[in-house]
């Protein structure tokens, strides 16, 4: 269902909504194209592929980091960029989400980058967008965060190109995490067979095994022999009392400490979508230690988002 919406009849990427059903060929094409934009090492960071195009960052959820990377990506492709932070209150004044979309569409926007707290929001916008208007999902509720998954895959591939041999552990709040879901779909598409979700039971959504993962409720067996550890951010505000007794207890049982890191493979990759909670999911010096690729992830975020925008909007020229 999702893939018919995001893939055009010609087999090209029309919107990017979810990693679910995104064909391996397109996923690899995005990663390959992102290689051309990564590192900014080739002198000029600017690739004016989207000159004359208009990109609107439509964020219904507060975000600085993600919005900034999307903005930079669009600007480096020479698109005109507008950032709109829409608070829930302005939509409750009577204007529906559809009204918001249609109003902005009338200003001849080519691409909407959308983040919304409701799962399915990006699908909703894609279903109602006018022909020729593209939707790029920057995170919808707990459902999907496809560009985060793409930059995660990009980062992993640079270090460990053979996904079929990987053992990957996703640690922490999988229940609320759109990153976990998108990473799982992407890893599966790339052939990874050993994917683990490691978390206390209240943070593991029912039936997640059916996405092709194994669930562990203890950290040590969950991390045994893994090549990649993806830590998830713990939303402290909504955790306490209801899901977990305390962040300290979570750290005690699931936090990645230096001692625990020392027991992992020497070439293990430590990843985190950010922003990190120091002393909760991860110890500060592990976060920026030599096994961490967390800052690489951030750097790759721009390149991957440039690749996606170029593929959606750039046409044959891309």
């Amino acid at each position: 269902m999702s893939d018919t919406l995001q893939i055009g009849r010609d087999g090209r990427l029309r919107h990017l909504l979810t990693m679910e059903g995104l064909p391996r060929r397109l996923l690899l094409e995005i990663l390959d194209q992102a290689e051309g934009y990564a590192d900014g090492g080739h002198g000029d960071k600017k690739h004016p592929l989207l000159h004359g195009k208009t990109v609107v960052n439509l964020f219904f959820e507060a975000s600085t980091r993600t919005r900034t990377t999307f903005e930079l990506a669009a600007k480096r492709l020479a698109a005109d960029v507008v950032n709109l932070q829409v608070s829930a209150s302005s939509t409750s004044k009577g204007e529906t989400l559809l009204d918001t979309l249609k109003t902005l569409e009338a200003m001849q926007v080519d691409l909407f980058v959308i983040r919304h707290e409701a799962s399915g929001a990006a699908h909703f916008f894609a279903q109602h967008a006018a022909p020729g208007v593209a939707i790029l999902n920057a995170g919808d509720g707990r459902h999907a965060h496809p560009t985060q998954a793409l930059l995660d895959m990009f980062t992993i591939r640079r270090h460990k190109p053979d996904f079929s041999k990987l053992r990957v552990a996703i640690v922490g709040d999988a229940l609320h995490s759109r990153v976990a879901r998108s990473d799982i779909h992407a890893l599966r598409t790339l052939g990874t067979r050993d994917i683990r979700v490691v978390a206390p039971r209240p943070l593991v959504p029912t039936g997640i095994e059916q996405l092709g993962v194994k669930v562990f409720h203890q950290l040590e067996p969950g991390l045994d022999g893994v090549d990649v550890v993806i830590l998830l951010r713990l939303q402290k505000e909504r955790m306490l009392g209801a899901f977990l007794p305390s962040t300290a207890e979570f750290h005690r049982d699931f936090g990645l400490t230096r001692e625990r890191l020392a027991r992992l493979k020497p070439d293990v990759l430590i990843m985190h979508p950010g922003p990190i909670n120091r002393g909760v999911e991860i110890e500060g010096d592990v976060a920026y230690g030599e096994r961490s690729v967390i800052l690489e992830q951030v750097a790759h975020g721009v390149a991957v988002r440039m690749a996606v925008m170029a593929m959606i909007l750039g046409g044959e020229a891309a």
Partner: protein
């Protein structure tokens, strides 16, 4: 006005008979029934060979949206749609706006229903004032004014002591308490069944225990009080098992199911299909199959529409922000007929689940076709082949997941009798 219906297949659940014959009605009452046509003259004679004649359909839960939500639908639009769909009586849950918790509102709803001149409208009174779960409503007055039961709609009665006293009070008045079993803390504002589909779509989920925990609590109180409780809109196999065990122990509990639960599962919400957003949520194939088996056995004695018409905007949003519910009057009979086509129910059983069963729950004299009974009748063409086009629905709400679905069988005509 008198009518003679000749050579129909007469499905009479009260008498448990399924025979071909003739039935006459005069002044709103059945005045003849026999194999041959009577000698007496009738204003209209209908040759009904190949058609089924059954007691008028009684829908245990339909929201007509009036009073209070006329942007969604009106009593007139919905009562007309119901009658055209063969439904001769509906039962309103008490969550109109204002809530049906006093006789003034009962009288007002009756006036609106009478003016609409469509299907007959029964109603439940509120179990607690304002459906707030705090104080008992004036159930005796509500009963006197015509309420056929009491309930709290989808609102919780969080305090179990209040719930117990409400049951005691209702039972002392001989009133059935209608419960939609859904524990609010466990339901947690969710919008989908807890399982792989909700997990994949990232939707806040409602576990089966939201239904069973609520059922267990009410069953415990029935064990204490002996009060009659009707569980509405069951959704799960484990809920069915609880119902059956309570019935096996002789407790006075009955149940209904919304017809969509007998066909759809959580697979139908894939792709964020808001038309399949319902509360309680669509669950898994094994739940659907258990509900079907219970309808067949009679443990679930009634199939209802759980009709919830909406304005278009209510479904135009990301899935969790859409309003739950299906506009379902016009698919209640056609879907039930499909259960007959699939061999799950006999035509007589189907007629029973749509008439005698709900009549029993409401304690009303309907569901039979004997001479002298009120002539609430539905004439069904079981072979009519048609396709549901939402744009042509009579209900103001076009929110149905069955748009484009082909059906065989529909109501051809319905008569309202004199009660």
């Amino acid at each position: 006005m008198s009518v003679l219906i000749k050579n129909a297949r007469i499905l009479d659940p009260a008498a448990n008979t399924d025979t071909v014959g003739c039935l006459g009605l005069r002044k709103g009452r059945i005045d003849y029934r026999g194999i041959r046509a009577p000698k007496a003259a009738y204003d209209e004679v209908i040759e009904a060979k190949g058609l089924w004649l059954m007691p008028g359909i009684i829908d245990l839960c339909a929201r007509m949206r009036e009073p209070g939500q006329t942007q969604k639908a009106t009593m007139r639009s919905e009562a007309t749609a119901a009658l055209a769909a063969g439904i001769t009586a509906v039962c309103l849950p008490p969550d109109t706006r204002p809530v049906i918790d006093n006789t003034a509102v009962v009288n007002r709803v009756n006036r609106i229903a009478k003016a609409a001149a469509g299907t007959y409208v029964y109603m439940l009174g509120a179990l607690t004032k304002g459906l707030e779960g705090q104080a008992l409503s004036e159930m005796s007055a509500l009963k006197q004014a015509g309420c056929v039961g009491v309930g709290n709609g989808l609102a919780p009665v969080a305090n179990t002591l209040i719930a117990r006293r409400a049951l005691e009070y209702a039972s002392s008045l001989g009133i059935t308490v209608h419960v939609v079993p859904l524990d609010h803390a466990l339901a947690n504002g969710g919008c989908a069944h807890e399982g792989a589909m909700a997990t994949k779509l990232g939707l806040t989920s409602i576990p089966v225990s939201a239904e069973t925990a609520a059922m267990r609590q009410w069953i415990s109180l029935v064990e204490d009080t002996g009060a009659r409780v009707h569980f509405g809109r069951l959704s799960s196999a484990r809920g069915v098992a609880l119902l059956e065990s309570a019935q096996a122990r002789g407790l006075p509990v009955t149940a209904d199911v919304a017809v969509h639960q007998l066909f759809l599962t959580d697979a139908d919400i894939d792709g964020f299909n808001a038309l399949a957003h319902v509360i309680p949520p669509l669950r898994e194939a094994r739940d659907r199959d258990a509900l079907r088996a219970a309808v067949r056995s009679g443990a679930i004695g009634a199939i209802c529409s759980d009709h919830q018409p909406h304005e278009a905007d209510a479904k135009i949003n990301p899935f969790p922000l859409t309003e739950a519910g299906i506009s379902a009057l016009e698919t209640l009979l056609p879907l039930t007929l499909r259960l007959v086509g699939e061999g799950l129910l006999s035509p007589l059983q189907a007629a029973a689940r749509l008439s005698l069963g709900p009549a029993g729950v409401l304690g009303i004299e309907r569901g039979g076709l004997g001479v002298g009974a009120a002539a609430d009748l539905t004439l069904v063409d079981p072979a009519a082949s048609w396709q549901l086009d939402p744009a042509r629905m009579l209900s103001r709400g076009r929110n149905t997941p069955f748009g484009g679905t082909g059906f065989s069988g529909r109501a051809q005509r319905a008569w309202l009798g004199n009660s």
